[in-house]
């Protein structure tokens, strides 16, 4: 085992997949000469050249669509969108084309491509650069949406996304790029076959008092919360959704059946959000097991402010999630730490 950053896990896995398969190419703004806004593609242009590492003009609709067209002919493009906010420029190509081509033409041509893109607030980037709009894509049949939270997951899930024959939106997070975690020694080898199973959530920490559900950065935060509350003798079970579409409902419903209550944390607005879908699924799948209403911890419903105190207040935190957990447990009379 070695300990690396989420960023390095992505970069090295991307490189390994390019070494493994000649059909894999990367495309995006500033990914070549500039080596990526967040340096995920560092060194790739030097190693693979401009044929396989394509700097694109600032034309998200054009180059995302071009990646889809190239995928229809069997290439496996990995597109980087500088942030998920810019995916809005390409949303017609993602939703009306990438997601539809396999079904709309009766299964004749698949679209084996990956769109890698980071979301996330907390960097003082203001209203248009701090969103998490993966919800838009998680809503769409025909797309697969992955949201890894650790370096090991990032590596295994990126490998899965590239090898999968469907369009995959691969959600990264600005707040995760520098986070560290253990990976297998051979994680960067081209012949590594540690491929994650798309469509599976995971219980990343076992507990008995309450289920805490998150994904991407919030799955990391959820583990921090569980760690902290353990010191107060509260046993939190953490579920990392990992795959937002398909959604593995059974894993979190089974957990709630065991613990009897749930808190969902998400780096996004609450109303109509992914947490709403999780909560609805819990009431349908574990109604008789619930000892308290399902609680959601989510971003304040405002365009994200720039000023640090306002931004911090708008985002879910270890503290706010801990409070929601204690209030939920208190409501069922279990115990309050």
């Amino acid at each position: 085992m070695s300990v690396i950053t989420y960023r390095q896990a992505l970069r090295d896995t991307l490189r390994a997949e390019m070494l493994r398969d000649e059909n894999v190419l990367v495309m995006g703004e500033e990914i070549g000469v500039f080596e990526g806004s967040y340096k995920i593609t560092e060194g790739l242009l030097k190693e693979f050249g401009p044929r396989r590492v394509k700097d694109t003009p600032i034309a998200e609709e054009g180059f995302v669509g071009a990646a889809i067209g190239a995928a229809m002919l069997g290439l496996r493009p990995v597109v980087e969108l500088m942030t998920i906010n810019f995916s809005l420029i390409a949303i017609d190509q993602i939703i009306n084309h990438a997601a539809k081509i396999y079904g709309m033409f009766g299964g004749q041509t698949s679209v084996p491509m990956v769109i890698r893109t980071p979301g996330g607030g907390g960097q003082q980037l203001g209203a248009t650069h701090s969103q998490n709009i993966e919800l838009f894509y998680s809503f769409i049949p025909g797309l697969k949406v992955l949201a890894p939270s650790t370096p090991a997951e990032a590596s295994a899930m990126l490998r899965a996304a590239i090898r999968d024959d469907d369009p995959v939106l691969f959600l990264e997070n600005l707040g995760l790029y520098n986070s560290k975690g253990e990976v297998a020694e051979d994680y960067a080898e081209a012949d590594n076959d540690d491929v994650a199973e798309i469509g599976r959530a995971a219980v990343t920490r076992e507990g008995s008092d309450i289920t805490l559900i998150g994904y991407s950065r919030m799955a990391m935060v959820a583990n921090q919360v569980a760690e902290k509350l353990a010191e107060e003798d509260i046993s939190v079970e953490v579920v990392d959704l990992r795959s937002l579409r398909p959604l593995d409902r059974q894993t979190f419903v089974d957990s709630v059946k065991k613990t009897g209550s749930a808190v969902i944390c998400e780096d996004d607005w609450l109303t109509y959000g992914i947490g709403a879908e999780i909560a609805a699924s819990i009431q349908e799948g574990a109604f008789d097991y619930l000892d308290a209403p399902v609680r959601r911890v989510a971003m304040a419903e405002v365009p994200m402010p720039y000023a640090k105190p306002l931004e911090t207040a708008a985002l879910p935190s270890v503290e706010s999630i801990s409070t929601a957990i204690k209030e939920t447990l208190s409501a069922v009379g279990k115990r309050v730490g």
Binding site: P57, A67, A70, M72, L73, H97, Y102, D166, P246, E284
Partner: protein
């Protein structure tokens, strides 16, 4: 000022076509009569197929949106004659004629229109979404401009592999104003891609004229911002379209760079089958439907004058076309409707756990 924007005769747009009435069409002297009659037959086939489609639509055998190639037969046949079998085609939603001309079985095209399981897209696409991997017609697309980035990407894949195929990307005149147009032409030129963008200018996007929507209404010039050479051709003339398209397709193949072709002709009827085109003036309607603008009537007259076509051959071709179109409709009628059990067969190419197969009223958690 609004009045000045209104065309008077279907199209008032400036351009070389109005400059002179002298016949600039390619001469027939170097053409084989069999080839010419083949073009004639194929154009007539598209015409009759579309008329049969309109009939089936009004009989509610066909649903959804339905856009016809009536008036564009010379363009369809001329363009498709310029492509090799291995070349790729992307089109907009006015795609029936292209589907047939690129090599799809008309029976299966009609079955798609009927929403049957023998349809080229297995009944999943309908009128706007004809697709066939084998004949390399990679889709009719219903979103204006949607096919441009895709076609550009297909050309990227060809170039990536060093192939010698060319991609043709057809669209309507209104498409030249959408962002995807600008982004795709820019990328195609930047990356030296073998693609020919073809604008079918029928002077109206639904009811909005080119002059009302395009600051530069001479559409073939609109590639110049990207240093893409453009040509305009009389889309009523199958030989002129064939020659212009062949020239640009072969240059794209040879020079590995994009080109732009504008083919103008008149949309004989409304935007779609259900559109009575009431926004047209009498003069515009007359222009769009007149024999002098009808590609088939024009070609018929030309071949007749040259002694290649006569009543006997004309009747023979008409009868053969009619038989084949009727056979297509019969085939579609007989083709089974898709079974509801196949509803979840084409959401994903790679099956994964937890894919939803829930029918509308099913509980999320089945027993």
């Amino acid at each position: 000022m609004a009045d000045t924007a209104k065309p008077k005769g279907g199209a008032r747009s400036s351009g070389s076509r109005r400059r002179s009435r002298k016949d600039t069409s390619p001469s027939l002297s170097n053409e084989s009569p069999d080839t010419l009659l083949d073009y004639y037959r194929r154009m007539l086939f598209v015409r009759r197929f579309e008329e049969r489609t309109a009939q089936a639509y009004t009989q509610a055998r066909i649903g959804g949106y339905c856009h016809l190639n009536l008036g564009e037969e010379a363009t369809v046949v001329g363009l498709m004659t310029a492509l090799k079998e291995t070349d790729y085609l992307f089109t907009n939603y006015r795609d029936h004629g292209y589907a047939i001309e690129k090599g799809m079985d008309p029976k299966r095209v009609m079955a798609e229109l009927y929403g049957r399981s023998d349809g080229v897209s297995r009944g999943w696409g309908g009128s706007m979404h004809m697709y066939d991997t084998e004949s390399r017609m990679l889709g009719g697309y219903g979103i204006v401009g949607g096919q441009l980035p895709l076609a550009t990407g297909a050309a990227l894949a060809v170039a990536y592999r060093g192939g010698d195929e060319v991609v043709m990307c057809q669209m309507g005149d209104g498409t030249t104003n959408i962002g995807a147009w600008h982004e795709s032409l820019n990328i195609a030129k930047l990356w030296d891609l073998p693609i020919v963008f073809v604008v079918i200018n029928n002077f109206t996007g639904m009811g909005t004229t080119v002059e009302m929507s395009s600051a530069e209404p001479e559409l073939y010039k609109r590639g110049s911002a990207f240093r893409i050479e453009g040509e305009r051709v009389d889309g009523r003339d199958v030989l002129a379209v064939r020659d212009a398209a062949t020239r640009l397709v072969e240059r794209a193949r040879e020079e590995q760079t994009p080109f732009l072709l504008e083919a103008w002709s008149y949309r004989q009827k409304g935007h779609s089958v259900v559109d009575p085109a009431k926004y047209r003036t009498d003069e515009q309607r007359e222009t769009a439907r007149s024999k002098e603008n009808d590609p088939i009537a024009l070609f018929d007259a030309k071949l007749t004058k040259a002694g290649i076509l006569n009543d006997e051959i004309r009747d023979e071709i008409a009868a053969a076309v009619k038989t084949e179109v009727t056979a297509a409709a019969d085939f579609a009628e007989q083709s089974p409707k898709p079974d509801v059990s196949t509803l979840f067969d084409y959401t994903y190419a790679t099956p994964v756990p937890n894919e939803s197969r829930r029918m509308p009223a099913d509980p999320v958690f089945a027993e």
